[in-house]
Symmetry: C2
Subunit: 233 residues, 2 copies
């Protein structure tokens, strides 16, 4: 039986040995939800970059630029980190360059993984099925918020563990913690996350619609994967 | 109303601003439980040091050396990290030098705090009363295990938050997470921690008696405090 661990923040990623493992990157509010949505709507690929400057550079090279900082679209870009930005046929077949506050940093904190895939509540079932099919040791890597552990990504980790409880052994205390947290939520994600700092942050930016979307289960059946530095299906 | 935050691992301590705050160091299994027990039994002070070498050095200077690594007493020392080692009148009035796997490192990760105190289930009520009396912003700093987040210290943080819920506002997601985890335990600590990695580690070392002791509530009414590099009452 393969094992599955949880890394609660990119700041803790150095404690993981990713070799020969599948890493599942999670940034529920909103980066990985948005990636899944964009790719399901026909975007060809997503290039994650660390800085807004890199994002501008690749935009000049023909990519469509998407840049978010602190929950808002960066000036000079048309696309940000809202899944609703990507539900248009205009982007089908396009290559996107994407920089977000926490998501990109998390990807760059993973070294030597056999495979990197992307999960959110909107593709939870598809991610669970992919991990079961791959049948390899795995680590769920939560993006958190500015290196701090956050509630929503930990909750997602717990929800994914619940779906994998028969096929994987849980490795380490963070996995047990995330799973117990999920059990405590009783599946009522929105109520459970009510006081979380990022929910409040997004609500202050009038993004309740985004939050509701990000907490919807199994809307898409696709699992984005990293290959040659870009994310695609 | 003052606020209280939780730092889930010394690895995340750099994300906290400790200035003008009270830091509560937690290493339930077993360092802070042992410190509380030793001081309550009359030990004069405890000098926490990082390395076994420093421990030997201070032992030669007249301190009584206590050294633990990986759950066991280090060769050449009479005292380790079991609270039962310290329940003897022989140690009354003595100065101890103490190095543990995770506890000491945590103390050294806290910079600029107004006050550093030490908490465990055995003095939970006393710690809650002290924080309420001080009426200052506070951070609960969990020692974890080798920089990783652990279940028992997070659970303790949640238990302490529960006792402070009326007097403090919870600051940040780790506090919410710890509190929800505590609620999920329904006060049944031993059962709740059953699968935790350190419980298994200690049980393999035949330390069930220590575990039971460490999970006892409010056995002592004292709160150790750091002053001039040493811990005393």
């Amino acid at each position: 039986m393969p094992s599955i661990a949880v890394c609660l923040s990119p700041e803790l990623a150095r404690l993981q040995d990713f070799r020969d493992k599948v890493a599942v990157v999670v940034d529920v509010l909103r980066a990985t939800t948005t990636m899944v949505t964009a790719l399901d709507h026909g975007v060809k690929s997503i290039l994650p970059v660390k800085s807004v400057e890199e994002c501008r550079y690749f935009q000049q090279k023909g990519y469509i630029g998407a840049a978010e900082r602190g929950g808002k679209i960066v000036e000079g870009f048309k696309l940000g980190n809202s899944p609703f930005d990507y539900m248009t046929p205009d982007l089908a077949g396009q290559k996107i360059v994407f920089t977000t506050t926490n998501g990109t940093k998390t990807i760059h904190a993973i070294h030597g993984a056999d495979k990197i895939i992307f999960g959110a509540f909107v593709n939870l079932k598809a991610v669970a099925e992919t991990l079961t099919r791959l049948d390899k040791n795995a680590v769920i890597v939560c993006a958190g918020w500015e290196d701090e552990v956050n509630l929503e990504d930990t909750l997602f980790a717990g929800a994914l563990l619940e779906r994998l409880a028969r096929e994987f052994s849980f490795s380490g205390d963070p996995a047990i913690l995330a799973h117990k947290l999920y059990l405590q939520s009783e599946g009522k994600f929105s109520m459970f996350l009510e006081d979380s700092s990022h929910m409040r942050r997004l609500r202050n930016l009038d993004l309740q619609k985004d939050i509701d979307f990000c907490l919807t289960l199994d809307r898409y059946n696709c699992v984005p994967e990293m290959a040659n530095g870009e994310i695609s299906l």
